[in-house]
């Protein structure tokens, strides 16, 4: 090929390239600007999924709850359950049988009635091993729920879940479960459209229009860009939906979120990770920064299968040498309260027993008793933490220093990438490991169940039959006060007598919105804010 021909070709090619480039540019530049939404909310990370059964993130859950509803729904102010798709229910004397009566005016956004069969379908789907719902354990309270989920039982008719007629659902539970109505409002348990899922399979959430059972319909979902929802006029409580069009923006950078808010491009920022730590001391004085205590605890785990942490005296010594006030005062600074117990305060009918307080002298005595006076001969050990999230490193350094100073022991830090960190935790490949737990419902058991011997989330190697039996007895107990006593005894074992974990603080955070401009957002310890009540004044 002659070079001239080639040149001509190249010339033409570059024209084409330029042409296409210009076309692309003009296209994006002229992308029709959507009409503005009535309300713009920065919601947190991009949702992994909007399928109630597939996702676990809180940011995802908030959007899911605007699109789909459970038998109960969260009250806007307290996040306690109130009637949702079920207008009422009967609970049997022993607390093990629930009969839910669905609303006669509950319909999908396309108009088909929401029937009892839809409830049965949605909940079976959560337990279906083929769907692999990671939160299926929320329905293990149902009779044969666990057996069905792990494939021991194949026949779904054996589940304690059946439609009595088009409007009535009967649920049989293994135990009286005082928080069951709370669970019914949880995003995972929302009622999903059987007809759409049968038709579009895995892609049902991108096959518009997506039938919704909640206050809003999904209008746009562009990854990492925005989710726009529009009021569902057929929602049973549509009269009380306050905003018509709402944009929910994903955002991972706290400073970007703050910039968007400050320049009026966003009305609400409600992810607690999105308040810039560097500015927290200034921001928390502002009236539009609303602090709240969160239903979550920051703690660390001991690997009790490794020496010397198999010795309870060592674990207690380390726990009692930590000045937690210093950690919340100097590092986290968002109003966190120090924790000596795992269960955060503020849950109904429950108060945690006292845990291990800061007492360096006693810590030194215990360490000496365990054979390490003054930290002599104490082996070098590692503290594992993940590289994502905030403050982990600073807290690790602080712990390192406190233990060196108070106990004379030396710890090294081991920072791992997110996934590697979880793998190491699961394989018990660590000495000490930073951890946290966020409650799913308003009951102490959402925290205490984690450390049952057979719970996959235990990850400490700590197995205690007394603890297991206390929780089992608590579950079977109908009397609220008796039940609380059993749970307290269990928690005392966990945080005081045995200490396989050391609670550090109760999470707190900031949501920011200007109450002069926005109404219908209420702080609560679940950080749940039903979209339906929020509007711009």
């Amino acid at each position: 090929m002659s070079v001239f021909k080639l040149r001509r070709q190249a010339g033409r090619l570059s024209y084409k390239v330029a042409f296409v480039a210009i076309l692309v540019l003009t296209f994006t530049a002229c992308v029709q600007k959507e009409p503005p939404a009535d309300l713009v909310i920065i919601n947190g990370p991009e949702p992994e999924s909007l399928d109630p059964a597939l996702t676990t993130g809180q940011a995802d859950g908030r959007i899911i709850l605007s699109l789909f509803e459970g038998l109960t729904r969260y009250k806007a102010d307290t996040a306690l359950p109130e009637p949702g798709l079920a207008e009422r229910w009967d609970i049997s004397e022993d607390g093990r049988t629930y009969i839910f009566y669905l609303r006669t005016n509950a319909v999908w956004s396309a108009g088909e009635p929401i029937a009892a069969e839809d409830v049965v379908y949605s909940w079976r789907r959560i337990l279906d091993p083929a769907i692999a719902c990671e939160y299926s354990s929320l329905l293990f309270y149902i009779k044969n729920g666990e057996e069905f989920a792990i494939g021991k039982i194949k026949d779904p008719s054996l589940l304690g879940l059946r439609a009595l007629d088009a409007q009535t659902v009967q649920v049989n539970l293994n135990n009286p479960t005082p928080f069951f109505l709370d669970i019914c409002a949880y995003p995972t348990l929302c009622i999903v459209p059987r007809h759409a899922i049968n038709k579009s399979g895995d892609r049902w959430l991108t096959a518009y229009p997506v039938p919704s059972s909640g206050a809003y319909e999904l209008e746009t979902w562009r990854l990492n860009d925005k989710i726009r929802v529009r009021k569902n006029p057929r929602y049973w409580d549509a009269a009380n939906t306050r905003s018509s069009v709402v944009d929910l923006l994903p955002c991972l950078s706290a400073s970007t979120a703050l910039n968007l808010y400050e320049t009026g491009q966003a009305d609400i920022v409600w992810d607690k990770e999105l308040a810039p730590t560097e500015l927290i001391d200034i921001l928390k004085k502002r009236p539009d920064f609303h602090g709240f205590d969160y239903l979550g605890t920051y703690f660390f785990r001991f690997n009790v299968t490794r020496k010397p942490f198999d010795d309870v005296r060592v674990r207690k010594a380390l726990a009692m040498a930590i000045d937690k006030e210093r950690i919340v005062g100097k590092i986290t600074r968002a109003g966190e309260k120090v924790a000596h117990s795992l269960v955060p305060p503020g849950l109904p009918d429950y108060a945690s027993p006292p845990g291990l307080e800061y007492d360096p002298a006693e810590a030194r005595r215990l360490l000496a008793e365990a054979g390490f006076p003054g930290g002599n001969n104490f082996p070098l050990f590692h503290y594992l933490y993940n590289n994502t999230g905030r403050n982990h490193e600073q807290i690790a350094v602080e712990l390192q220093e406190m233990w060196r100073r108070e106990l004379g022991i030396h710890m090294e830090l081991r920072k791992l990438e997110w996934k590697v960190y979880f793998r190491a935790q699961n394989m018990l490949d660590y000495d000490l490991c930073r951890s946290s737990w966020i409650g799913d419902y308003n009951d102490a058991s959402t925290f205490l169940d984690v450390f049952l011997s057979n719970n996959g989330n235990n990850r400490t190697g700590w197995k205690n039959t007394q603890y297991d039996s206390l929780l089992r007895r608590a579950n079977a107990q109908r009397d609220v006060a008796e039940r609380a006593k059993l749970l307290q005894a269990a928690e005392k074992l966990l945080v005081r007598d045995e200490a396989p974990i050391v609670p550090v603080y109760i999470y707190a955070g900031f949501e920011y919105y200007d109450t002069n401009k926005i109404e219908g957002v209420f702080s609560n310890m679940r950080s749940e804010h039903p979209l339906r009540t929020i509007r711009k004044k």
């Binding site: 540019l25 562009r222 990492n224 970007t256 968007l260 996934k419 979880f422 793998r423 996959g456």
Partner: protein
């Protein structure tokens, strides 16, 4: 012929790249479903792995992947479970392409004139000033420039929006943030190229023939002096077009740069391989275009 040959090389190259990406990411510890909460039972984890064929031997997964790839299917995302890798590329790529092309134009538009200008005023204060500016642009990372520009032009002066990707006004700050570094690189390359060429014999000849300085610089010297910039622009463009994690994060732009980085952290295997392949295609394709451009610009270069 040359082009066809190069295109023919690209296929085995891409196959190799896909193979390496596919296998290497599996060496990293941790999997897509390792997270804060362990699924309630091992059965659930097994079902998840089976759904995404992660339970099959690795070679079988790779063969399956290649088969899907031939049909234009990049496979599912294990992180964004309602979306396929195709969905994510289709949504993010046009945005990254636009931002990249804009930044490319900015880098060229600023870098080339600056390079020529400083070369022509070599040793004078303009040269030092331009050189300093270019050096600053190279040394200060986007992570710093982005927030600084935002603070000045979006928050103080309110000329441009702070973030998001909605109108032409939204494009300005990200374009500058992304393009500034490359503008500095190009200015330096251009200056070097220009200085080298201006001392060549054919320039002296051109001057001796009595050509005006403008004609000497732009008609004769420039064509040769720009060659280093041209060869740099191929990988540069590939780099810009595939998005930037930093700029997309700072300005909350829904491109694919963020996905490329996060897909590894999330162990979103197929997403990572898909994006790596996309990057490879762009890089190989643009290098080919660069080579063609060379033959057009430099009469000494011929491909047979």
């Amino acid at each position: 012929m040359f082009i066809l040959k190069r295109l023919a090389y690209m296929l085995p190259m891409l196959a190799l790249i896909s193979f390496l990406a596919f296998m290497l990411v599996r060496l990293a510890p941790g999997g897509p479903f390792d997270r804060e909460r362990t699924p309630a039972s091992p059965e659930i984890e097994r079902a998840l792995n089976a759904k995404y064929h992660l339970d099959e031997p690795l070679w079988q997964q790779y063969v399956r992947y290649l088969g899907d790839l031939v049909r234009g299917d990049f496979g599912p995302s294990t992180k964004y479970r309602n979306h396929t890798v195709n969905d994510i590329i289709a949504q993010g790529l046009p945005i990254s392409l636009s931002l990249g092309a804009l930044a490319f134009c900015f880098a060229m538009g600023v870098g080339i004139p600056l390079g020529v200008w400083t070369a022509l005023r070599r040793g004078r204060w303009q040269d030092y000033l331009g050189g300093l500016a270019a050096l600053m642009a190279i040394c200060v990372p986007g992570l710093v420039i982005g927030p600084l520009l935002t603070m000045l032009f979006a928050i103080e002066l309110k000329w441009f929006p702070v973030a998001l990707w909605e109108s032409s006004w939204h494009f300005v700050l990200p374009t500058i943030t992304l393009g500034l570094y490359f503008a500095g690189r190009i200015a330096r390359l251009m200056r070097e190229g220009m200085l080298n060429t201006l001392h060549a014999e054919f320039i002296t000849t051109a001057r001796a023939k009595g050509l005006g300085e403008g004609a000497v610089v732009w008609k004769h010297a420039f064509r040769l002096a720009v060659l280093p910039v041209v060869s740099y622009s191929g990988p540069l463009l590939a780099d810009l077009l595939t998005g930037s994690f930093v700029v997309e994060s700072i300005f909350q732009i829904p491109g694919i740069g963020v996905f490329l980085v996060n897909s590894f952290q999330n162990r979103d295997y197929l997403m990572l391989v898909g994006l790596v392949l996309l990057y490879a295609v762009l890089l190989l394709g643009l290098n080919l275009i660069v080579d063609i451009a060379y033959s057009v610009l430099d009469p000494r270069v011929r491909y047979e």
